[in-house]
Symmetry: D2
Subunit: 356 residues, 4 copies
Amino acid sequence: MEKLRAGILGATGMVGQKYIALLKDHPYFEVSYLVASPSSAGKPYREAVAGRWLLGTDIPSRVAELMVHTVDELPHAQKECDFVLACLDTKIAEEWEEKYAAAGLPVVSTASTHRHTSDVPMVIPEVNPEHLDIIPIQKKNHGWDKGFIAVKPNCSIQSYTAPLYALHKKFQLRSAIVTTMQAVSGAGHPGVASLDIIDNVIPYISGEEEKSEREPKKIFGRVEGNAITYDESFNISAHCNRVPTLDGHLATVSFTCETKPTKKEIVELWESFSGIPQELQLPFAPLRPIIYREEVDRPQTRLDRDADKAMAVTVGRLREDPILQWKFVGLSHNTVRGAAGGGILIAELLKAKGYL
Amino acid sequence: MEKLRAGILGATGMVGQKYIALLKDHPYFEVSYLVASPSSAGKPYREAVAGRWLLGTDIPSRVAELMVHTVDELPHAQKECDFVLACLDTKIAEEWEEKYAAAGLPVVSTASTHRHTSDVPMVIPEVNPEHLDIIPIQKKNHGWDKGFIAVKPNCSIQSYTAPLYALHKKFQLRSAIVTTMQAVSGAGHPGVASLDIIDNVIPYISGEEEKSEREPKKIFGRVEGNAITYDESFNISAHCNRVPTLDGHLATVSFTCETKPTKKEIVELWESFSGIPQELQLPFAPLRPIIYREEVDRPQTRLDRDADKAMAVTVGRLREDPILQWKFVGLSHNTVRGAAGGGILIAELLKAKGYL
Amino acid sequence: MEKLRAGILGATGMVGQKYIALLKDHPYFEVSYLVASPSSAGKPYREAVAGRWLLGTDIPSRVAELMVHTVDELPHAQKECDFVLACLDTKIAEEWEEKYAAAGLPVVSTASTHRHTSDVPMVIPEVNPEHLDIIPIQKKNHGWDKGFIAVKPNCSIQSYTAPLYALHKKFQLRSAIVTTMQAVSGAGHPGVASLDIIDNVIPYISGEEEKSEREPKKIFGRVEGNAITYDESFNISAHCNRVPTLDGHLATVSFTCETKPTKKEIVELWESFSGIPQELQLPFAPLRPIIYREEVDRPQTRLDRDADKAMAVTVGRLREDPILQWKFVGLSHNTVRGAAGGGILIAELLKAKGYL
Amino acid sequence: MEKLRAGILGATGMVGQKYIALLKDHPYFEVSYLVASPSSAGKPYREAVAGRWLLGTDIPSRVAELMVHTVDELPHAQKECDFVLACLDTKIAEEWEEKYAAAGLPVVSTASTHRHTSDVPMVIPEVNPEHLDIIPIQKKNHGWDKGFIAVKPNCSIQSYTAPLYALHKKFQLRSAIVTTMQAVSGAGHPGVASLDIIDNVIPYISGEEEKSEREPKKIFGRVEGNAITYDESFNISAHCNRVPTLDGHLATVSFTCETKPTKKEIVELWESFSGIPQELQLPFAPLRPIIYREEVDRPQTRLDRDADKAMAVTVGRLREDPILQWKFVGLSHNTVRGAAGGGILIAELLKAKGYL
């Protein structure tokens, strides 16, 4: 099978690097094209990223020699990509993602720009794959032929959204109070200054609580007519904190459903939770999207973030809550499931569904 | 004024060391007697604690030369102490605290042993100083003459208990959901292994959530007849986490009151909150027990833990909660306000009230 | 091929766990027998290690069900092992390693007990594989039939010993001044208290400098007659420090040789360095035992410790020294190359040489 | 006594903030004037530094209301300052320090710009106070009336320079091999990215080794004619590393003198080491510039960095070196003794000597 050619927009950033590392030897996709800032353009990637390559593994050798382009070299992109994985800064995403789509290139984006655009699907492939049905409408709205935009939600919601969704379908979630303890890689590189976070907790991340509270409402929503409508039947309250960990966003969650489930029912729902990616055995799909651990002190950030290629959400400590119904701890890897890995899984789903 | 002579039970442990450091030059008290394990006994303190002194400051020279005793040398203690500050392991506390009280020595304890004994006051001096009124009853119950036991609550509750109490008096607290991010010093020394906590969050601390949920109910309770009755008019749900910080327990809190206060009312209550320790200008009393910070990203563990001699609780980020009424962040220094400093403030209050 | 059955002595400790994890799916060896302290004995391993399993990966399922034995159940060990990988505490190693050898079981040990026993080989397989020639003599000295003891040197020396040896053979090392920055896992678990090492450097590790200075002299020595003689033609001065990293011992090294090599000669020696393990393509042998990196800021502990299955030593920053001849930075993974991985490589070499 | 009015050039940076915090209640100096980048200019300091104030203590209230100026408003500076404490970025320092001196303002600088300018004194007040004698020559060279430049050496050298100087005077230092383990605050703010340094050691700091090797040669030099000549009678070899600590640069040092001192002689020299600042009892002078600790595991970064107002250098672990003569560990606080505190001590000395 001929591999699809993927362009990486924002290739020298942390998520861009992670995309490049994760796509090494991918069965469907190969990195064919790289976009970064003007200061990097015109250089081979190896040189553009010199001194800024953040990963322990080496740069895949084929990608290392690719020439870096600027974001405005659209004709090049059209010729050398079948689709693009975009992890541009918000400002640049705002300007360019639609232009790439208009130029016939499907865009899978990690930027927040279009997360609440009504005809853009924001997808966790195990939760709301049917949101991709909005794509033909999006294309029609814009008069686009092959291009479109699909986006990945924020990394902070990954540790609780799938676990709550598994319950929501059957018991109707009403409320969840969430406190996140987020790793520094969530802020990219250079991101959080070491002087600010060593021996410290910063109980604030700009914009993060709003995202953490609102994005699940769209994800749990439905494609209705020309738009994705939000599920307003529940509320989430988020406290977002930065802690001195490298990778992995951990969340404590207290929640209430319309009908109170039993502990057994919850654990069964989590352990049996599965979706289209599992059914289709997509390469980046974890065997089980939610892993429930029985140990009293798990999940732990460092021990569990890499579960099943860092694509599984690990939950534990399910116990009664004296105020809401139940409480638990959730964890997901923010730069894999919550960023590049999540983006790849969306691309795999798009391919399986014939959109790529 | 002659200083009162304080014995430290558990003098080589982390809290014992903190007591010794904080009492250097104390206007009311002087450390006169030290108790530690048999392996330390019979040695001057300097030698007993060699290689285990955890603080940057040197051992106060007078204390360094004091001979260390075992816990069972009660006649010595009686002769050389006016009261004792006890920070013994739970097991040993269980066996010995009552014997010291019976021997005529007032005991101020940080152990959890007697926190829920009905005639033992568990005191945050700014919150429930009137619980000391149980002491005569306690003495009578046991037939004790001068001795008695008073205890300090758990370090995990200090960051939210005073702020919630300030509201409770006027608006009646109904529920609070709390997530703590606790420093490693809370586990004493050696306590948490570095291999377990660097680049990690451990979402579990044995027994901590129960303490965090239940202790405020006694503290908000009343002396009625021969016992302190619990205030069962509210519930707390606690998620307790260990994070890689050295000192300072930070908590995110969502809460609801019987009557919903305005933001202005809450801030005013916090800023004007004051108690007997402030009125009496006790040496360890912070000027204001609760400091409210306006900055969007405060309190932070490292920046705010030392506020006002590390005895003030710092709160911030008060904002509406989509599920309960309001949410905020609280912080207190766990080994000062939450342990040795809190114990000293109780002793100062006891002295002011004529119990020492 | 039938796999050889390996017993792990000290199976619940950190190195024991690492042995178990690394031997999963090993082509030559399978873990067949486990020894731990009396409190663990009689339980399946899963239960014995519950709450103490330190690794992110799960316990290999077959090992999880193995019953744990005490060290004194020698007849069991004889029946169920072909050899043992021993990582016992020094005291216990002193008492038991010889008994296992006497019972006919080859012992590959990480303990320091026999490192300077004159008929016990202390081996880095790429450096001094010929020291295994002492084994027949050792057996004869003790009247042992099949059993013997072979040991792995200290983890602190791995980052500089192979790089210096590569030079020594050709240019005769005369002196090296080494400063190590060692990870907390080097002290085992619980090991270093988090309260001692967060935001700190401890410039002392008991016994470590002596080992770091003396062990290379035996490793560079020769089998002569009935003993391994030391190479006293050079001296090492070691400063050993504990720093807040999880894994990976990094060292800065200044050195002088009898004949001053050129930079080109040194890099060539390092890059071409290879040994019997590479020749025999042993499963745990890295492709190249020494990796030289050109970047100005490498090796870095976190980025390079896992190089080639964490079995390669990474060096960099080779530059002239104003006092000795040259200086560089070396790094090796202390619990893999420096402990369990190094032990497995010795066992592989022993098997290839017919000793197992 | 009227206080001298100090301007802070670079007032919003980390060192600028530290100057402001340390000068609160200083007996000789008061902060009267602030310079920062154009984006901060025209605002009260409180506002200019909002969200970037790095210290746990609050901004001194008087300084908080001072208006921030740009570096080019020289007439203002002339009117409102008696001297300036400059901690500008190198580029800006290059352009402006001489202009301030020319405008009649004495400049005490932490920038590296003029460290090797032959008529500019680079001073550790206890080591080479007599270098201030070059100031009249410097003034004459430039035709300056009251203004001049004096500089502080690099923070990386403070932990070993005074201890080696104490020996040099009597035994003539010949060589020292130094490995530093430097805190992240040495890189300013934002400085080192947390993603780069958590669980890591970076064995490279741009330009730092050159400074660490060369600056002591000027400091140990002499004013001869119109220039300060370097002491080339010894060499230093430096390995500079960044480690995950907040404050405090620790160094391991091996050294050789012309005449080998005894351990007793070295310790006596260190313990008796004292200088003009001690003699004059300058406010920021530590009681003893060098503190020797006997404990086997001291100095430690976190425990000893604050010794005597963070102005003392703490040394320990003096022991024989198998290659050079002796080895030891040194520690100094990089943002106090190594930056703002060191600058203030120079200013105090300048005042005492009549230069301010």
